[in-house]
């Protein structure tokens, strides 16, 4: 469904992503792991168009989407949530999600119909499915961190994605919030058939829900394979245990 081929991006000579390769099949849950600074978030930014790659290509359902602006990519039904909470802090939970739904319906050019009357059902349904319905009128700047991370996912769902990218969905969550979040991710995959690409530091979560894993070190893909393949790989172990300089530059 999504293929990333030889993607590279450098910032002032620093190769943040260097020849990254990734292949995600429809319906899969794929995890991207790697030490801090390995370029995982940059890779997601490249796929979603927030930054443009220097070279390489991103192909989604047979279509080259490399370097398209984010709003175009979103319309191809690729959504993402952010590692650092990235929401509309002055608006309510409902409004945050509703804007995403309105954008999908291409209603944001409508100047005179009251917002209150459009896309209410869809928005409420999303909020129910992620479990934020009872907090829908709260201003999001005042929510707990865990709820804001969930709202991140709700906003991403507003675009009715086929392909969902989650950047450290459980980072900073309390243990019970984490397990709720994992349940949510699983149900998105099982119930709605959404293909999910995520990155995460908690290996328990990664090995618990991912079908396949891609490992990045210093911007490069060193392996993509099933959980067992990755677990036994020497290069991965070296990277994580701080072994000898194995980076495949």
């Amino acid at each position: 469904m999504l293929q990333v081929k030889g993607l590279s991006k450098s910032f002032d000579g620093f190769k943040a992503v260097n020849n990254a390769n990734l292949d995600v099949q429809k319906g899969e849950i794929v995890a991207v792991i790697g030490p801090n600074g390995a370029g995982k978030t940059t890779l997601f930014n490249l796929i979603t168009g927030i930054i443009k790659p220097d070279s390489g290509s991103v192909i989604f359902k047979g279509e080259d989407i490399t370097g398209l602006p984010p709003y175009e990519i979103c319309r191809k039904r690729i959504s993402r949530s952010f590692q650092i909470v990235n929401i509309f802090p002055r608006l309510t939970v409902f409004e945050n999600t509703q804007i995403a739904v309105l954008a999908r319906f291409k209603k944001t050019w409508d100047l005179f119909t009251p917002s209150k009357k459009i896309a209410v059902e869809e928005t409420e349904e999303i909020l129910k499915s992620v479990g934020l319905f009872d907090k829908k009128d709260r201003v999001t700047g005042l929510l707990s961190h865990g709820d804001r991370k969930i709202l991140e996912i709700a906003m991403a769902l507003g675009g009715n994605p086929e392909f969902l990218i989650l950047d450290e969905p459980t980072a900073g969550m309390a243990p019970e919030e984490t397990s709720k979040c994992i349940e949510l991710i699983k149900s998105l995959s099982e119930k709605f058939g959404i293909t999910i690409l995520f990155c995460e530091h908690d290996m328990e979560i990664v090995f618990g829900i991912a079908n396949r894993i891609m490992v990045m070190v210093r911007g490069s893909t060193i392996i993509q394979g099933t959980c067992d393949e990755v677990r036994c790989n020497q290069a991965v172990q070296d990277a994580y245990l701080g072994g000898s300089d194995v980076c495949l530059m």
Partner: protein, 311 residues
């Protein structure tokens, strides 16, 4: 606003306010009728700025250019074309729209402060053209005694004309803020990166917001021609832009009617304090300091906060 008042209460108070506004000219002297007209149209101008500033998060630092352009276009159309004066009131806002489209396309490439700086420079360019082009715009003399249709030429009828147009404009702007476009705009204000990521073409939405703001600024400019019969280059000088900006901040730039209140406060201050001292801006400065320190959401923002706590 809905959260502050119950709907019923808001309607009742709004109705009382409207009645008061409509009977003002019956007992107030001419000067006050003129003053309230100026407050209304300046309030309209500040509200139009606030669409992009408070709701759009765009640093529109030179909003007065669109006001002045609208006023000049109206006045010039009436004087030079020889066609019906009513056409001038159509051309004024349209010229503002055109100007905001052109300036918008150029400025929108930049964001935040850089947008504001570029806009000030382009706006000053427009100002200097108006200021220097004696044969066409009258230069620094401006244009005096613009002939108006009889029906709106007396101060009282000019007041009613201003009042009605202002109310309609305010109502339309309120509708726009509450529309999906308004929601998207507020999303862009809060977080442009995220807005793009959920499928919103940020630059185009911002451009439309600029055009809308320019349109209503142009209406305010046309209304000034009705009330004052004159236009002068100071109407598109950047100090006026700063003044409107202060109106928004003072009144409360996250409240819909905040800029209106800010306009009233500043114009009343200027009118009445300046009879005692020519340093009236000193009073404004001190007031502004208090607002920044104690009422970060502006005067109306503060009142709303108090009311919502009570209920």
């Amino acid at each position: 606003m809905e959260k502050v008042f119950s709907r019923k209460k808001a309607i009742i108070w709004g109705f009382i306010g409207l009645i008061i506004l409509f009977i003002f000219p019956l007992f107030l002297p001419r000067f006050y009728v003129y003053l309230i007209s100026i407050i209304l149209l300046t309030g309209l101008l500040a509200t139009s700025l606030n669409i992009v500033l408070g709701y759009g998060g765009i640093f529109q630092f030179h909003h007065a250019v669109f006001y002045g352009a609208g006023a000049y276009a109206t006045a010039l159309m009436i004087i030079k074309s020889g066609l019906t004066p009513w056409l001038g009131f159509l051309v004024g806002p349209l010229v503002s729209v055109l100007l905001s489209l052109i300036m918008g396309i150029i400025c929108i490439r930049l964001s935040k402060l850089y947008f504001g700086m570029l806009q000030i420079s382009l706006g000053s360019l427009v100002w200097i053209i108006v200021y220097r082009w004696y044969s066409f715009t009258g230069g620094d003399d401006g244009i005096h005694g613009v002939p108006l249709p009889d029906i709106i030429s007396s101060p009282t009828s000019a007041y009613y004309f201003t009042l009605v147009i202002t109310l309609i404009s305010i109502f339309i702007m309120y509708k726009i803020i509450k529309s999906p476009f308004g929601s998207a705009l507020q999303g862009i204000r809060d977080n442009p990166v995220r807005s793009e990521m959920i499928g919103i073409n940020v630059k185009r939405h911002q451009l439309l917001a600029l055009i809308i703001a320019g349109f209503f600024a142009g209406i305010a400019g046309s209304l000034f021609v009705v009330v004052d019969n004159t236009v002068f280059p100071d109407m598109l000088f950047w100090t006026l832009s700063l003044e409107i900006l202060i109106m928004c901040l003072l009144g409360g730039w996250f409240s819909f009617l905040g800029p209106m209140l800010g306009a009233a406060i500043i114009i009343l201050l200027r009118t009445f304090v300046s009879t005692f001292t020519s340093y009236w801006t000193l009073v404004l400065g001190i007031l502004m300091m208090f607002v920044i320190f104690f009422l970060p959401n502006g005067v109306l923002g503060y009142i709303e906060e108090k009311l919502s706590k009570k209920s």
